[in-house]
Subunit: 438 residues, 2 copies
């Protein structure tokens, strides 16, 4: 199966674990099969591979997520980078052109599109496979997954099927209704629209050419920033008559708020934590190295990360966004394609960070105009290149770099470094990248 | 006035702000007169000096608090160090001998003894002064402060005065009663015993010599660890007939738990914090550099420090001790006589700390057997001495020290240093101190 996972933008609603550069799908919060924790994207990727070991997975996302995706899923996953955010129709058009022009997928093959972050059972991915098969072999131009509603939600759009069969023609779509209308829809047999669908590659390619003037993937990529922001639902789905829907009645959760996310946690806490017996329905996600102690709380979520600490009533947690919008803070932790960094200390004219490089990886070869740097290697071994000079390094070695000096570090084993940045105007934007002459 | 402030032991009940090495009296939580925050000990010391600028203040405490006291009150405050903990009678005997033998105070002068951490108005210290004057000039051997009860507390001992005068003879003492008995006492005119009293120096000196075989302060200090643990109440107060009590009806609070401490806070939060409108009776004390966001909480205290994070119902917070006893953690922050340090990162074979030295101060000249160290100066200027060699240092300088090498750093201005410790067995006990040969 060809599957495109839409990996959306910054998820402030799960602050402090998600922020401008870390989206919720990368938070490691679910107990995986080997007991270690995995993120939503890792969980979904693992589930897809278990259902279809030949699945061709392409993640449609922005440039800012590429490092985290490679870090969590490895180098081999397909990534279709959107040069900028342009809603779902341009994103799906670009991913479709990418599959056709870059990956060489036949126009007759089906493509399944799915968000990157549903919290679901294995059966969901069986259903995705079936969705693709239907798209390849039936009369419909689009095949949607319709989720059996468990309550009259106001959060979802509804699909009204023509009949009660497992696979049926779609009669009409309804926008997010109020609870009463939702109840009426459900009595008519309506299904939730979870944004999951399949099509024959050539169908979306044709739609894309109808609506956008482009030649191929590369051309579309080049002019991506000029495209109109428009959703796939609006541009394609609502105008299409030949749509089928496949009913799905298994577990399906949209983990968009702390309230829903904590419902999916298998344990009351992740990370170092103590809960008194007087706590009731309390969840703690602690990414810090120090303990969290909770006493006498009810219906509360506590989340601590290098970015900050949230303590919220679970219901109230869905109103978090305006508060997080007010926080204008230095990014304290980030996953990069080569590893990760964490800010340890900030002063007026210095910043101290801890850098962890994965084995075999290296930073870009770069320099800074307005800061000196000192690296102290605290574990592992590798090599540094400073102004063209390569030298082996290991724990205890210290490398000092003046502003302007070009430098990188290459990890042979996992390598951890304390980096002290010194200067009056320390900024992530003060970075010039260079090609390594080797 | 001669005043002895009893500065008690580790206060786990205010974890994570207090711990084995930082007692609650050193937490900077009260808005001082200039808008900056002050600790209990700073507040009390300031209040005493305002009431009596000639007051001779002596803090009776353990060795572990000396650094924090000097750091918060300066070098000039008197400190009487107890070599080990031996309850209040030995502590008061030692402090009294110290005042007589070291400070040269006359036997005829009064000494006022008071805990270091009452949360009170200025009038309280006026009353202390009066207490001293009564001790010097009346017939009583002991003059106690009796606090007008505001409710039938089960937490305090009660003083039953012989009459209802402002100053009266004490008829008897009652141990901590149950609420019903407390109410009966209060109807009889009983007062709370806040552990505050005054005596003529010679009176306690005589009692000390009756109960302990010693010659002078130095001798008492030497044999301090052989002394019996016994309270001043039990050894002296309960056996004395000639006791007066002075009524005090002003504000008096004992800030021993998060619940009572937060009642004394003038603002809902100290440190970086956001509270939603849906929060009610919520207090936050955040010592970290990242924001705390609270939503929809009621009657909750949140406290975050480098040691950990507490989120507790206020009532429940008084049951904290057994939980904190379970935490066996590296000390993450400490005040020292020369400044402070904070642990930034811990790995198996390294530890990274930030050291702040106050101007004019220096570390001990010392070495480590089992670890190397790297200092990167991030701000200020001063001098390092490494194996006898002195050199000036300023921001950007890096000093590497092998295990065994003797070193110190002297701050000319405030000096901040990132120290990376490297070795297999990093321990605070791996430290040999040396005299500087200069």
């Amino acid at each position: 199966m060809n599957i495109v996972l839409l990996s959306g933008g910054s998820g402030k609603r799960l602050w402090p674990l998600s922020n401008d550069i870390r989206s919720k799908q990368f938070i490691k919060i679910f107990k995986g099969e080997d007991g270690s924790y995995e993120s939503m994207v890792q969980r979904v990727y693992r589930q897809i591979c278990q259902v279809d070991s030949d699945a061709r997975v392409t993640i449609a996302t922005s440039r800012s997520q590429v490092s985290a995706i490679h870090n969590q899923l490895g180098e081999h996953v397909g990534i279709c980078v959107e040069p900028c955010r342009r809603d779902t129709f341009p994103a799906i058009a670009l991913a479709t052109a990418y599959l056709h022009d870059v990956q060489g997928i036949s126009e007759e093959e089906a493509v399944v599109v799915c968000p990157v972050d549903p919290y679901v059972e294995q059966g969901y991915f069986e259903a995705l496979k079936e969705l693709g098969e239907l798209a390849e072999h039936t009369w419909a131009n689009l095949v949607l997954m319709g989720i059996e509603p468990t309550y009259p939600s106001e959060k979802y759009g509804y699909i009204i099927p023509a009949d009660q069969e497992r696979v049926s023609k779609v009669s009409t779509f309804k926008e997010k209704p109020d609870a009463e209308t939702a109840e009426a829809y459900i009595r008519q047999g309506a299904l939730w629209n979870g944004g999951v669908f399949a099509y024959k590659l050539k169908y979306v390619l044709k739609k894309a050419h109808e609506l956008i003037d482009f030649t191929d993937y590369e051309d579309l990529f080049e002019k991506y920033d000029t495209l109109e922001k428009i959703s796939f639902d609006y541009a394609v789905v609502e105008k299409e008559d030949d749509i089928q829907v496949l009913r799905f009645s298994g577990q399906w959760k949209d983990l968009g708020t702390w309230n829903t996310l904590t419902e999916a946690m298998e344990e009351a806490s992740v990370g170092e934590c103590m809960l008194s017996d007087t706590c009731e329905n309390v969840h703690v996600i602690n990414e810090l190295d120090v303990p969290v102690l909770c006493m006498g709380l009810k219906d509360v979520v506590v989340s601590a990360s290098p970015e900050g600490i949230l303590v919220s009533d679970k219901e109230q947690s869905s109103y978090i966004k305006p508060f997080v919008d007010q926080i204008d803070q230095q990014i304290m932790f980030a996953e990069k394609s080569w590893g990760s960094f964490r800010v340890l200390d900030i002063e007026d004219e210095s910043m101290t960070i801890k850098v962890t490089l994965n084995p075999g990886h290296s930073m870009n070869y770069h320099s800074h105009e307005r800061r000196d740097e000192v690296w102290t290697i605290i574990s592992g071994s590798g090599r540094t290149i400073v102004d063209g000079m390569e030298q082996p390094v290991t724990a205890g070695d210290v490398i000092t770099m003046q502003a302007g000096c070009r430098h990188t570090i290459i990890a042979d084993t996992e390598l951890k470094v304390i980096e002290v940045q010194l200067g009056k105007e320390i900024s992530v934007h003060d970075k010039q990248k260079f090609e390594l002459e080797q």
